[in-house]
């Protein structure tokens, strides 16, 4: 590695940082404008054309506001929590390819900060780490609402991470790689001659489960229970002000962009699209396609916020554990079966093994209620006991 390589790495990191940070600013503005439009309002329109500079003004205001630290916080953790959230949000997108490949100084440079073999596992690991920021913020604030918000948040993220991970696993099995660039490469070309060969077509159930799960992971409406205003004031962020609050805010919106980008990478071909024009234009076209695709998902996020009421907490858990987890598990198994079937020479054996597996599953499904402990009582028994 020489100086040029180092420069290229720094350049890529700065480019990704600029893209995500400006994306966050625009997203906050767009969210406010679009939600306002959907509610027959105008939204911020004072600062700059169409109020575009509103986010800048809000950010500046947040950083210059009085920083209040309540007296019974756990100081070190209280300060570390927002930093953790923000740092995790800032490094999660490192593995996402956001543009094409171009050559600089005789080197092929892909517009992706880091392309490790573990690839998308990095995203899973970072999104799990992000929970710590919120949980620790809730715990260290030393008051009830943040604590409840933090607990809700951790429960929700753990529940939905399973479904998210399993639906991602289906894509990994289908692609045969965890590497983001391999996943994108696997979606080149066309299906049936006219459809783009995006994973969303063969992996539609995985996409639906994944997208629902990431909405819950980013704690966006209708899954924004950790900061449900009517119940928890502002959830884990209640005791935070000024720059620390701004860090949570930044992390939250940056995560929305990151999960949209992951959705695009996994299911919508990443930065791929019809390329034309001179050589210097091609990687930039990739960036344009990527931004366009991500924007569509960001719009969906905003649209959901404007349209859906918040879920009740038990419904949220129900949906995560009793519907999405089994479905994603089933789909991952089905994908694995299809992939193994395609790769193996002895297909009859594969079918026999699969049939055996299904038979065992059915048997367990029938037999499991027989072993349920009677004294616990089911859902139906509980109200009876209350009455008596």
């Amino acid at each position: 590695m020489d100086g040029v390589d180092l420069l290229i790495i720094v350049g890529k990191a700065v480019a990704a940082f600029a893209l995500w940070l400006s994306g966050t600013a625009v997203l906050i503005w767009a969210e406010r404008r679009v939600v306002a439009k959907m509610q027959s309002r105008v939204g911020p329109n004072r600062l700059g054309p169409f109020g575009l500079l509103q986010t800048v003004a809000d950010g500046a205001k947040l950083f210059f506001k009085e920083d209040i630290t309540p007296s019974n916080v756990d100081r070190a953790t209280y300060i570390a929590a927002p930093v953790m959230s923000a740092v995790v949000a800032l490094i999660t997108y490192a593995v996402i390819p956001f543009g094409g490949t171009f050559s600089v100084a005789g080197r092929e440079v892909a517009l992706q900060v880091w392309d490790p073999g573990i690839g998308m596992l990095w995203f899973l690991a970072m999104s799990s780490l992000g929970v710590y920021g919120i949980v620790l913020a809730g715990w260290s604030s030393g008051s009830k609402y943040p604590l409840l918000g933090g607990v809700r948040s951790s429960a929700q993220m753990i529940s939905y991470e399973l479904a998210m991970g399993l639906s991602m696993a289906a894509v990994f099995i289908y692609t045969g790689s965890l590497r983001a660039s391999d996943i994108v490469a696997n979606q080149q070309g066309a299906l049936l001659g006219f459809l783009p060969a995006w994973h969303v077509i063969p992996m539609a159930p995985a996409f639906l489960i994944f997208f629902t799960a990431v909405i819950a992971e980013t704690q966006r409406p209708p899954f924004d229970l950790p900061e449900a205003e009517g119940e928890l004031v502002a959830g884990f962020g209640t005791e935070y002000t000024a720059a620390k609050f701004a860090m949570f805010y930044l992390a939250e919106f940056m995560n929305v962009i990151t999960v949209s980008a992951v959705t695009v990478t996994l299911f919508f071909g990443g930065p791929s699209g019809p390329l034309f024009g001179p050589d210097w234009l091609r990687p930039l076209l990739g960036v344009a396609y990527f931004v366009l695709k991500v924007s569509v998902f960001l719009f969906v996020f905003i649209w959901l916020r404007a349209s859906l009421p918040r879920l009740r907490y038990d419904r949220l858990m129900d949906l995560g554990w009793r519907l999405m987890l089994p479905l994603s598990l089933l789909w991952a198994m089905a994908t694995a079966f299809a992939v193994v079937l395609r790769q193996s020479a002895d297909q009859a054996t594969v079918f026999k093994l699969a049939a055996g597996g299904v038979a065992v599953a059915l048997l367990l499904y029938i037999a499991a209620p027989l072993f349920a402990r009677k004294d616990r009582g089911g859902d139906a028994a509980a109200p009876e006991e209350v009455k008596a």
Binding site: K37, M38, Q39, S40, V42, W303, S307
Partner: protein
């Protein structure tokens, strides 16, 4: 389920392209109703004399105790209103005023009325206590600002209280020519009552 989703998401999507309800307020101002209760005005007679006679009925009527009036006697040399007395100090405190309009109902001379102006805001308390100079209506064209002398007023020969309940405020000026004539006041139904603000 799909019908419900189509309807719900469709509604929010359609609303994006509907005209917005919001008025761009400081730039675009919606006109008020003509009888909107806005900031008060102290009216004048056409010759510039004040209609307020300093009776303090408005202050007594005020449920919010927002009006402060001090009356004083008119003199032959310095006449502010056609009546015996006039309001030398007149203040309305818009920090207290609830714009209910009981004061204008109490006013016996229609001196106090309300305009449609609703932009009552300031960055100091003092600025929201409107004194007489800010409440008075502008002088009519060609009129001389009070105080007038009785001689001037008599020379104009105006009938200030054009109804049957009128009095002659210049009774002590009996010798003057062109004082209010009973013949002018013959038919209150035909004669216009009050000033232009009615």
């Amino acid at each position: 389920m799909f019908t419900a989703m189509r309807k719900g998401f469709g509604l929010t999507f359609k609303t994006m392209f509907r005209p917005m309800e919001t008025t761009q307020y400081p730039e675009v101002k919606r006109p008020t109703q003509p009888r909107f209760h806005g900031r008060h005005v102290l009216n004048r007679h056409p010759d510039g004399l004040e209609k307020c006679v300093g009776c303090e009925l408005c202050a007594w009527a005020c449920p919010a105790d927002a009006i402060y009036v001090e009356g004083a006697d008119n003199t032959p040399e310095a006449r502010y209103s056609p009546a015996e007395r006039y309001g030398v100090v007149y203040q309305i405190n818009f920090l207290r005023c609830i714009l209910c309009g009981l004061c204008i109902e109490a006013c016996p001379t229609r001196a106090l009325t309300m305009s449609n102006e609703y932009e009552l805001s300031a960055d100091s308390r003092e600025a929201l206590i409107y004194t007489k100079d800010r409440l008075l209506a502008p002088l009519p064209a060609g009129a001389k600002p009070p105080p007038h002398t009785d001689a001037e007023v008599a020379a104009r020969g105006l009938s200030y209280y054009q109804g049957s309940w009128g009095q002659n405020p210049l009774a002590h000026f009996a010798g003057a020519a062109g004082g209010p004539q009973e013949s002018e006041l013959a038919d209150p139904a035909v004669a216009p009552r009050g000033g232009s603000e009615d």
